[in-house]
Symmetry: C2
Subunit: 176 residues, 2 copies
DNA sequence: CCGCAACTATAAACACGGTGTATACCCTGA
DNA sequence: TCAGGGTATACACCGTGTTTATAGTTGCGG
């Protein structure tokens, strides 16, 4: 996920400072992965450099001075363009599992065992997520659903690949 | 995909030099995305620093001298550990689409239009991939299948989310 | 009332993956 | 002979993200 755009989006509801941004980010997007303070400030610095935001004040808070930032019109355009543009999923068609399978075959390792291991890990993860979903808030449930669907897709690919291993082996050896 | 591990895997079939590595990588994994020469050498440098590979010779070829590298025993262990370890898919449950949807709601933008746009882009991409699959080699077909399964999963999530937009809107406003 | 912990707030150094470009060497053919 | 193209590597640089340092402010226990 593009964290800088998400931050830009949060700032679009009104000028804020880094510390507040971190907390709001975590409240909305941080279910699975909170953002580090360090990343907030380095991202802010880059956005300032690129003219997407600008400092609009510096006020005392409950600690060192807060620097307040606002989205510039260039920033608003940038965000709007991002929102309006569809993503290409997995633009590179490559995955770790694909690479592992091919390399296992190339190195005379047991590719089928590898696929089976991944299958079991996926099933375990699905149970885990399904359990976590029970008590979760709506936004978190949505994120979990996304992961569940994706794991199912992975499982289908694993079955397909596992069934074709002999053919793939031949193809890999050919490339040597 | 983890390119450095893939390179390490390729080197495990015998010592090679950077240039050769680049060509073999592209032949096997490069269907969708070739690796740049620059990345080869910077990755090799890091692997040397980490003791995963070592230089074992320097011979003239059809150009400047070739530096031949071999996998160390630490490198073999590292690779074997990677092959034996299952991946956690989408360890952070976050996606661009999720972020866009939430931000659109937060900014009073049209979230449903956004989802619909993504849906149409996905369908177009599916047609494209299905078409490309027809004439492709086995390894490429496998990679394409992976992408197709994943897009289907995305589509399912889009439908689910689209149906729940009013509830999500309420939740998002709550977080402010 | 002193000192220390916990919270607020930011900055700067650093690591890593990746891209682009420069460099240098060799061979071929017009 | 010399221009062009393939071979081969090195280096500077960029963006994302992590770690660590710094500094003020509040509040609580001894």
């Amino acid at each position: 996920m593009d964290r800088s755009l998400a931050l830009l989006g949060l700032m679009s509801t009104g000028p804020t400072h880094g510390y507040d941004l971190k907390n709001r980010y975590d409240a909305i997007f941080g279910a699975a992965r909170a953002i580090a303070y360090g990343q907030i400030y380095s991202t802010l610095a880059r956005m300032i450099r690129d003219g997407l935001i600008e400092q609009v004040g510096q006020e005392p808070g409950a600690g060192p001075d807060r620097k307040r930032y606002a989205v510039t019109s260039a920033g608003r355009d940038h965000l709007a363009a991002w929102l309006r543009e569809a993503d290409t999923p997995s633009p590179d068609l490559q995955t770790n599992l694909f690479a592992k399978t091919v390399l296992a075959l190339l190195l005379d390792d047991d590719a089928d065992a590898l696929l089976d291991l991944q299958r079991r890990a996926h099933l375990a993860r699905m149970r885990e997520l399904t359990h976590a979903k029970a008590g979760a808030a709506l936004l978190d449930r949505l994120a979990i659903d996304y992961a569940l669907f994706q794991i199912e897709a992975d499982l289908r690919w694993i079955d397909l690949t596992s069934a074709r291993l002999t053919d793939i082996d031949e193809e890999v050896r050919h490339h040597g």
